[in-house]
Symmetry: C2
Subunit: 156 residues, 2 copies
DNA sequence: ATCAATGCAAACCTTTTGCACGCGT
DNA sequence: ACGCGTGCAAAAGGTTTGCATTGAT
């Protein structure tokens, strides 16, 4: 087995591992592991980037021709509530979703606006900045994203 | 004239001043100063917070009963392209808009998710954080917003 | 008088929902 | 067998567009 094959095999292995972990979490909550649900997790893991509900639907329809948006959205909603995926609204035309970075608790992303690929940002502005909220302002959440084009997507 | 009246007058004065500045900028670009366009700028200045296209429409319909979404959106689009308003997508159900903070070049906001009111955040994470983009990632923009409830909107 | 702005209506796109049936447990 | 998950269809929002008319300059 060549080095190339080995790394490929390794990638597959960790993918399967991760998928198993995600599905176990759903199972533990009493949700059923349907074929479509598993495929959504598979695709999101394999893509490892932000993709739209439409992209997801189109990929899945190759296997499940009668699949429609409602099921995709219902599953995305479930996965989001369970904290297994992340949602963002960059670009035009609605939300995009990616598998949650389960190895890092709190994080922010560099996001490629062309392909949706992400990289982790070091640190969080809420820690680094001397954030002092206005009088009486109760902070509940924040959003920090850096947009641009990844090495694969821009010419030079 | 009482102090109260005076401050009220002052507020009106600076509002009118700001409105004039915004409208002049449109005029300079060759756009027509229609009543509806002026009213949108007026409302956004008076509100000084993020509001939805729907809120805008409803306020304006008191004066222009036949006004519909298309005109509101067309004007919002124009104002956005001209850099006179800012758009955000917090909460559910689409975009919200506020008059641009023309006195500050680059900035970020504390945003009240209940009323849309904003406060300026001191500093920008891109300056404060030791941002080092991944190999080959070409940074084009970023988004940083702190959400919560302002003093007026939460009980305690 | 000219050309942008508006009203109206319809289309578009993403996302959600009600209901009956099918499938994982 | 039970009850969640799914397909179908339709609706719900938000936003955009074509076209004829109105209105600012």
């Amino acid at each position: 087995m060549s080095e190339k094959d080995h790394s490929h095999d390794h990638a597959h292995h960790s993918h399967a591992e991760a998928k198993h972990r995600f599905l176990e979490r759903l199972k533990g909550q009493g949700f059923k592991l349907t074929g479509k649900r598993q495929m959504i997790v598979s695709i999101l893991l394999a893509e490892d980037r932000y993709i739209s509900a439409k992209e997801l639907l189109e990929q899945m329809q190759k296997t499940f021709p009668r699949l429609s948006f409602d099921t995709v959205y219902r599953n995305l909603h479930l996965l989001k509530v369970e904290g297994l995926i992340e949602e963002s609204t960059f670009g035009d035309g609605g939300s995009k979703y990616r598998i949650a970075c389960d190895t890092h608790d709190h994080h922010h992303h560099y996001i490629c606006t062309l392909c949706g690929k992400t990289e982790l940002v070091e640190g969080c502005p809420m820690d680094m900045l001397g954030i002092t909220a206005p009088q009486g302002f109760k902070i509940e959440s924040h959003r920090f994203e850096i947009f641009g084009q990844c090495a694969d997507c821009h010419p030079v």
